[in-house]
């Protein structure tokens, strides 16, 4: 029973992180129409910044906040320095066909990922280093009994829950949130309503950058930090987003938690080396039965 419960808790806290990664992908997909493969590269970069600050004896929380800010800044820079110029160039060249329009930014994001990984390797050297947790990551002891979860699990679940509430409030309850939804759903009507869609687009890169770097900060303690550690989260986060429906924020969160539990159960009851096989089976099953994802809308399937 304890094994089952601890698998549930570990899966939920894992799932919370995957949900964040998936959320970051969906934000940029909806806001800018780009599947951003550089996302976890950006997160890796900001996690290195946090790690450097911690190594220089700054508190975890200062490093945490600085990493989130730099994640947002990096997201904004990717849009301003790469995606926007690319959009402007394309309208006057051979690349201006519908297929190319959707492919070019994706290839560019892969390029950015490569650049970020290489730069991180050059700046921080490519050897792995540990990354601390702000709270204890051993099994919590209550009344002398070891609980099936750790304080860090609770911390992760709590922080992701708050993030999801804040995101929901932002989208449903603020003018900028409405502007972002409108721009994603119908850019033309949004522009005719006076919404600056360029600004909105950059903002979705920024928010996605913050969400991804949060995912990076929370997942790194369980692995080690190297320029390539977060590739795994990218793959799982991407699968979560596709399973949930690439254009649905709620779907991406559900997909994240579902995959977290799956990974955790395979880990406990089967063997860690089967994790990818299990993920692949889930992905293929969803793509065959419901290609648009659990909550995705039908149009996305064509892309």
């Amino acid at each position: 029973m304890d094994i089952f419960l601890s698998a549930i808790f570990a899966g939920t806290s894992r799932g919370a992180i995957y949900a964040l990664a998936a959320l970051g992908l969906v934000l940029v997909w909806r806001g800018a129409g780009v599947v951003n493969f550089a996302q976890m590269g950006q997160a890796m970069f900001s996690t290195y910044i946090a790690s450097t600050l911690i190594a220089q004896n700054y508190s975890y929380w200062i490093a945490f906040v600085v990493a989130l800010i730099s994640g947002g800044v990096l997201g904004g820079l990717v849009d301003l320095l790469v995606m926007r110029p690319l959009n402007r160039k394309r309208s006057s060249s051979v690349l201006d066909s519908p297929a190319m329009r959707s492919t070019v930014p994706v290839i560019a994001s892969l390029g950015i990922l490569g650049v970020l990984q290489a730069a991180a390797g050059m700046i921080w050297a490519a050897e792995e280093r540990g990354f601390p947790t702000p709270v204890n990551s051993l099994g919590l002891v209550i009344n002398g009994k070891i609980m099936p979860f750790t304080a860090f699990d609770l911390f992760v679940i709590g922080i992701v829950f708050v993030t999801l509430l804040a995101t929901t409030f932002f989208f449903k309850g603020t003018g900028m949130g409405l502007a972002m939804r409108a721009s994603a759903l119908n850019p033309e009507v949004a522009r005719l309503s006076g919404i600056r869609i360029g600004l909105v687009r950059t903002l979705s890169w920024v928010i996605s950058g913050v969400a991804s770097s949060l995912a990076g900060l929370l997942v790194t303690p369980s692995a080690n930090l190297s320029p390539y550690t977060l590739d795994l989260i990218l793959i799982i986060g991407f699968t979560a987003a596709v399973v949930g429906g690439l254009d649905s924020l709620l779907g991406s969160v559900i997909g994240g938690f579902a995959l977290g539990l799956l990974v955790s159960f395979v880990n406990v009851y089967d063997a860690p080396e089967d994790i990818f096989l299990a993920i692949l089976i889930v992905l293929l099953t969803v793509l065959v039965i419901r290609p648009q994802g659990i909550l995705g809308s039908k149009e996305v399937r064509r892309v």
Binding site: G175, L178, R181, E188, V189, R191, L192, S193, G194
Partner: protein
């Protein structure tokens, strides 16, 4: 006054507008009629900067607006209601209306609230349905919503693209009457694109007939309505 001179807009090598010149006077309804493919929608899309003109000039209140972005043009008081009941179906009725006022929400919140109230007085059905998704509305209600989305920005020039498209005659009548009242009571300038020439010429002050991207006739509305030969030649009835 909206003043357009020698306007040329191309889609690839096709000239959708081939040297259009026209005037739309303030506080009046000017209607642009013509067959499918005459360039009516392209004309409105070029004014609101969704399309870039190849050459020619567009000025509003004696200032050139060519080269500005659509977002900027809305801020100058030019609101465009594109063809096909352009609302965002996945957003609620209320959100669709608010969307049109987002850009001035911070600078003039009180007036935005007032504008939304006025819209609900104008179209009480929208207030009854404000929490519903726009996608669940009837065609007529959707057109009312699309117009409301534009009106909430308090435009001085309204570009209206085929509001009658796909609607029952009674609903068309109601919408056109509302636009007419707005123009007469508030001094709103209207550029109304219509395929339904009779209805449009019935309320308009001035008529402009487009054919294959050029102006075929530019006459007071009553005179155009009475010109049987013109209608037979260009509109087929």
């Amino acid at each position: 006054m909206l003043e357009i001179k020698d306007l040329v807009t191309e889609y690839g090598s096709v000239k959708a507008l081939n040297g259009i010149s026209l005037l739309a006077h303030e506080g009046k309804i000017t209607t642009v009629i013509g067959a499918n493919g005459a360039g009516k929608s392209t004309l409105l899309r070029t004014i609101s900067a969704l399309e870039h003109p190849h050459s020619g000039s567009i000025s509003w209140k004696n200032k050139s607006i060519v080269g500005l972005s659509p977002e900027k043009i809305v801020r100058l008081g030019i609101a465009h209601v594109p063809e096909g009941h352009a609302v965002i179906s996945q957003l609620s009725v209320e959100e669709n209306i608010q969307m049109g006022a987002l850009f001035r929400m911070r600078s003039n919140k009180a007036d935005v609230r007032l504008a939304i109230q006025e819209i609900y007085q104008l179209f009480p059905r929208l207030e009854e349905r404000k929490k519903q998704l726009a996608g669940s509305l009837s065609g007529g209600e959707r057109q009312m919503l699309a117009i409301s989305r534009a009106l909430v920005s308090r435009p001085s020039l309204l570009l209206l693209d085929e509001p009658s498209l796909g609607l029952a005659p009674l609903v068309v009548e109601q919408i056109i009457q509302t636009v007419n009242d707005l123009c007469r009571n508030t001094g709103l300038t209207v550029l109304l694109v219509e395929q339904n020439a009779n209805t449009a010429l019935g309320v308009a002050d001035h008529g402009i007939l487009l054919s294959l991207g050029t102006v075929a006739a530019d006459l007071p509305a009553a005179q155009m309505k009475a010109d049987v030969a013109l209608r037979a030649a260009y509109l087929g009835y």
